[in-house]
Subunit: 617 residues, 2 copies
């Protein structure tokens, strides 16, 4: 039943050999890998204004700072994308920060890059879903107590879609991206035409928004450097997701590098244009919003289109759609990256297993669970999640670009000096911004990734050391042959029943050198009764009883096994445990003590545990 339900939801299994067919053409790859970056236009401008209005309290002066700040972010985007085009060509098999750092900088930097990216993918899901739900809340105006449940429902649906597989996700989610980009460009053009050509549109009146907005409009503080940097750090999250394309090169149709490089430029053009356009429009329409108000885009769309008409609705619904798509970028990348790290032995092996739809199912599920917890813990508030976000993004950028610098120095391919210069500028700029983010936003939450990433690196590193040690200790020495040891069988007995007799029969068939039945009894009465039964059923092996005044099982059994071990030191002891096996739903009523004992015996040297099942149903 579980199996057929799974088939219904997830689809039929896909064979390993079918992997090649799961490649994406450019027009499908763009929404899959670029929606994260493009979607940040839906909240990045609001987040800059959030710092200037709510954080710094500078009122209408915020709008004179908005465009200059946005231009700096756009320049940054050009630098980063130019840098990443180098990476895409140098690493046609996928050149995420992790791989580039690993090849050029070494293990620890690569783990820093890897954990930064994993953290960011999780935050992408949390922030994008929260942003998407805020977009529809701006339209429908439902109560804010529904925010978190709706977010969690979105995460669940996306998880199911992604467990079905990557290609279907792409074609399922492609149309909304184009709709969003289209609506946003229409909004910007119509808005700017009304401002500059017809001059028939007013700035938004805070009175029509909320009391909080009216208060914020009155703000008249002066803007300190720290607040300016904080506002810039918030805007810089618009760049998150830019690395997704370079990470996913092998998922493109051939020629992979060329297609990916084209895609990243298309993406950057769309992203930069829309982000600047929205900021310019906002600097004229002045959308002031409090924590619980509709988004800036919703307010502006209402103003530009003179109310909540069909254009407004298309804008809001497509915003919701692209943000869900953005989360989907992380669903494509998180499992892929964690599988690469797992194959390198720094994450548990389960992350490198593909499910029966060729998806790295464990990564998908892990991502969904952690993102849901974050949404729940931060109450679905984007502004609270943003400071956690930017630090990881720029740490990843910095390591990736630094790795490229070393790469050019090592290989000295044609025109390497130009490439070196591009990546050096990229590394320096993004490194600087990582520092700005962590300093300016430390107390707002940037401390969380700043502590978490080193901890993750430590864990990954020790997992890596562990797997390495295990592998080394399992190497077969030359000429190694398994030895024949003395072979002692101990059958554990509670009371005499059919199962015990079967188990003893089985144990005798193992051709042991010695065999004994062991029973732990609690009182002399029980002991006497057991010996009587033994004689009655004429059981052909010796019965040894040990008493356990404190009603324990494990300790007396271990004491007895130690005694046996002392007699000779080349023993292998096989402990035979008869276990009642019933239907799955009643199995919990049996063998709880046996389970605990087996777990302990596993750690005992030279001891093998045999469970002889006794089927009773």
């Amino acid at each position: 039943m579980f199996q057929s339900l799974k088939r219904l939801i997830i689809g039929r299994p896909i064979a390993t050999a079918d992997e090649g067919h799961q490649r994406l053409p450019k027009k499908v790859a763009l929404p899959v890998f670029a929606s994260d970056a493009i979607s940040s236009t839906a909240y990045a401008t609001d987040e800059i204004l959030h710092v200037l209005l709510i954080g710094a309290g500078i009122g209408y002066a915020a709008f004179t700072r908005l465009v200059p700040l946005s231009i700096v972010v756009a320049v940054l985007l050009v630098i980063v994308v130019t840098s990443y085009r180098q990476t895409i060509h140098a690493y046609p098999n996928g050149g995420g920060s992790y791989i580039v750092s690993k090849e050029n900088l070494g293990t620890v930097p690569s783990l820093v890059a890897g954990s930064s990216l994993l953290v960011d993918y999780i935050l992408t899901v949390a922030v994008s879903v929260a942003g998407g739900v805020l977009a529809i809340r701006s339209a429908f105006g439902f109560d804010s107590k529904w925010t978190v449940p709706i977010c969690l429902l979105c995460v669940l649906l996306m998880t199911l879609a992604n467990l079905r597989g990557l290609k279907e996700s792409g074609s399922l989610f492609a149309p909304p991206t184009y709709l969003y980009v289209g609506s946003l460009i229409v909004l910007i053009i119509v808005g700017l035409v009304r401002v500059f050509v017809f001059d028939n549109i007013e700035p938004i009146d805070p009175e029509t928004v909320s009391e909080e907005a009216v208060e914020l409009a009155k703000g008249a503080s002066s803007l300190g450097l720290m607040m300016l940097l904080r506002a810039f750090s918030s805007g810089a999250v618009a760049l998150s997701g830019v690395e997704a394309v370079s990470n996913g090169v092998p998922a493109f149709k051939k020629p992979e590098s060329k297609n990916a490089a084209t895609t990243i430029v298309i993406m950057a053009t769309i992203l930069g244009t829309c982000f600047l356009g929205i900021s310019i429009l906002a600097s004229h329409l002045k959308p002031i919003r409090g924590e619980d108000d509709p988004t800036g885009i919703a307010l502006m769309a209402q103003q530009v289109y003179d109310g909540k008409n069909v254009m407004f609705w298309i804008m809001q619904i497509s915003t919701f759609a692209i943000l869900i798509l953005a989360a989907n970028t992380a669903y494509a990348d998180f499992p892929r990256l964690s599988s690469i790290i797992a194959k390198d032995g720094f994450l548990p092996r389960q992350f490198s297993n593909r499910g029966d739809r060729l998806v790295f199912s464990n990564g998908v599920i892990f991502l969904a669970v952690v993102a849901s917890v974050l949404i729940w813990a931060f109450d679905g508030q984007i502004s609270a999640l943003i400071p956690l976000y930017a630090f990881g993004v720029f740490t990843g950028f910095t390591l990736s670009q630094s790795g490229m610098v070393i790469h050019h120095l090592r290989l000295r391919e044609p025109r390497w000096k130009l490439s070196l210069a591009i990546n050096a500028i990229g590394a320096f700029t993004t490194g600087l911004i990582a520092v700005i983010v962590v300093v300016s936003k430390f107390t707002q939450g940037a401390w969380i990734p700043a502590f978490l990433i080193p901890i993750m690196v430590t864990i990954f590193y020790s997992i890596g050391k562990h797997y390495h040690r295990v592998k080394k200790s399992l190497v077969v020495p030359p000429g190694y042959k398994a030895q024949r040891h003395t072979h002692y069988v101990v059958v554990l007995v509670g009371k005499v029943n059919r199962g015990v007799i079967d188990a003893i029969g089985y144990a005798r068939s193992l051709a042991p050198e010695r065999i004994i039945a062991l029973s732990v009894v609690q009182d002399p009465e029980e002991e006497r009764h057991l010996h009587e039964q033994w004689d009655e059923y004429d059981i052909p092996i010796e019965l040894h009883t040990v008493s356990s005044p404190y009603r324990e099982l494990t300790r007396p059994v271990f004491a007895f096994l130690d005694e046996i071990d002392q007699e000779r030191d080349d023993d292998i002891i096989t402990v035979v445990i008869p276990e009642s096996v019933t239907k799955v739903q009643s199995q919990w009523l049996h063998n709880q003590s046996a389970l605990a004992l087996k777990a302990r015996l596993l750690y005992r040297p030279h001891t093998v545990v045999v469970s002889v099942p006794v089927h009773v149903d």
Copy 2:
């Protein structure tokens, strides 16, 4: 480390043979078994008034109904206790409702009685702890948001105390009972003397309590029959805990029955006197309280002692203490009853295992967890929990007394007609009250036990049937001998390493008729490599590979085992799985697929699984 922490908190183990010493003298047994019943004086009067004031809204008229209602409850107490004295003498080995019903009425009624009591013990913990915390909140006046956390802390501390063992609990908790009873009697006497002798005390002014109290005082509705019955049902919870003594007879010092019978009379006298006394005092002092106000006793103590002086503090703190003690009654009885039911095979066997301090630890922990959930779910509100409570109490009483009626009819001991009459009156009265409770409080929450108890009975019954079937199927038929089967060993192999070679060595030592190594491979490349390794290390058994295009493990292994089974039908297949064993903290990085496979193999007939541990650390 875990072991020494456990020893520190729980104490050293106690041997089974020391059980006899854990008997209680009367003066210790009274607080242990009677604190539940006596402690209900702390809230029963308030609960009657809660229905009359908040439910019915009859204002000051409530106080004219209070004493008559209390007298009815007191008469009921006399009937029930007289009835239970018969039980104590008839069942010196412990005559709780469960045992009496089992012997006289049959399995299903006994399970009804058992589950009613288990539900009640859980509610005793929840209600008493909530009441205790309310008593100290009445004194200290802390914010109501701390109520639930403080309640949960109390449950935790009590759980630890009880895991240490029963006798220590008794001596630890005895003094507060006597202090509470003492303070309560002093309060009643001083109060009544001031009312009747000196006539120098006024009723409590609702203005000094809260706005809600002022509102309630204005109530002028008339009292319908349903509300009267509801008020009575609330008062009747004062009787909960009366059965504890008869359930716990074997824990008394010898002569058990005589001591227990004396104790139940002392208990009833104290309970009846205090309950009536408080109600009479309240009918004069008229303590009107809203949901969030101090308790009636706190208000009256403040009035009688002219403010919050030392007498007031002693009253409140000892109220807290006795209510915690009351919860402790349940800690003594719940594990004991669940162990009896488990020994009869209607609950999982784990409930009948004594921990190393001779306590039924699993019962203690289960009780603590469920009571904590209830406190959390009902926000620590006594009035919300009360309707859940009374139905179970009176169902238990009814079954117990009905059982006694049958008992007398069966045995016809000396003076059986008088005893029969006493128990028949008891059964009839308590049965009637169970009906009154469930009818009058159905929508207030009495529906919960009314549905839950039948569900519990069904579960208990099916557990019982299951254990019975298992036992029957394990009976050794006359002349049964285990047969010798064909003995086929399959060694599961991933890649070749030291562990696999050891496992093959072990498997060969089992003297199988046939032996084969089985490997599930995902692609031809992997298959070829494995066969190369096989030749290279010169491994002396045949290697069979099966391919798994959908990256599964379980299905191909089962298919192969089915093939073997088809060849001959007297096979026992032993599947040998080499498992890497590392330190406990890194074990989760290994063998996850092996675990899933082992769980499935357990259910396969004629199959034995052998885990050969490969120690790598």
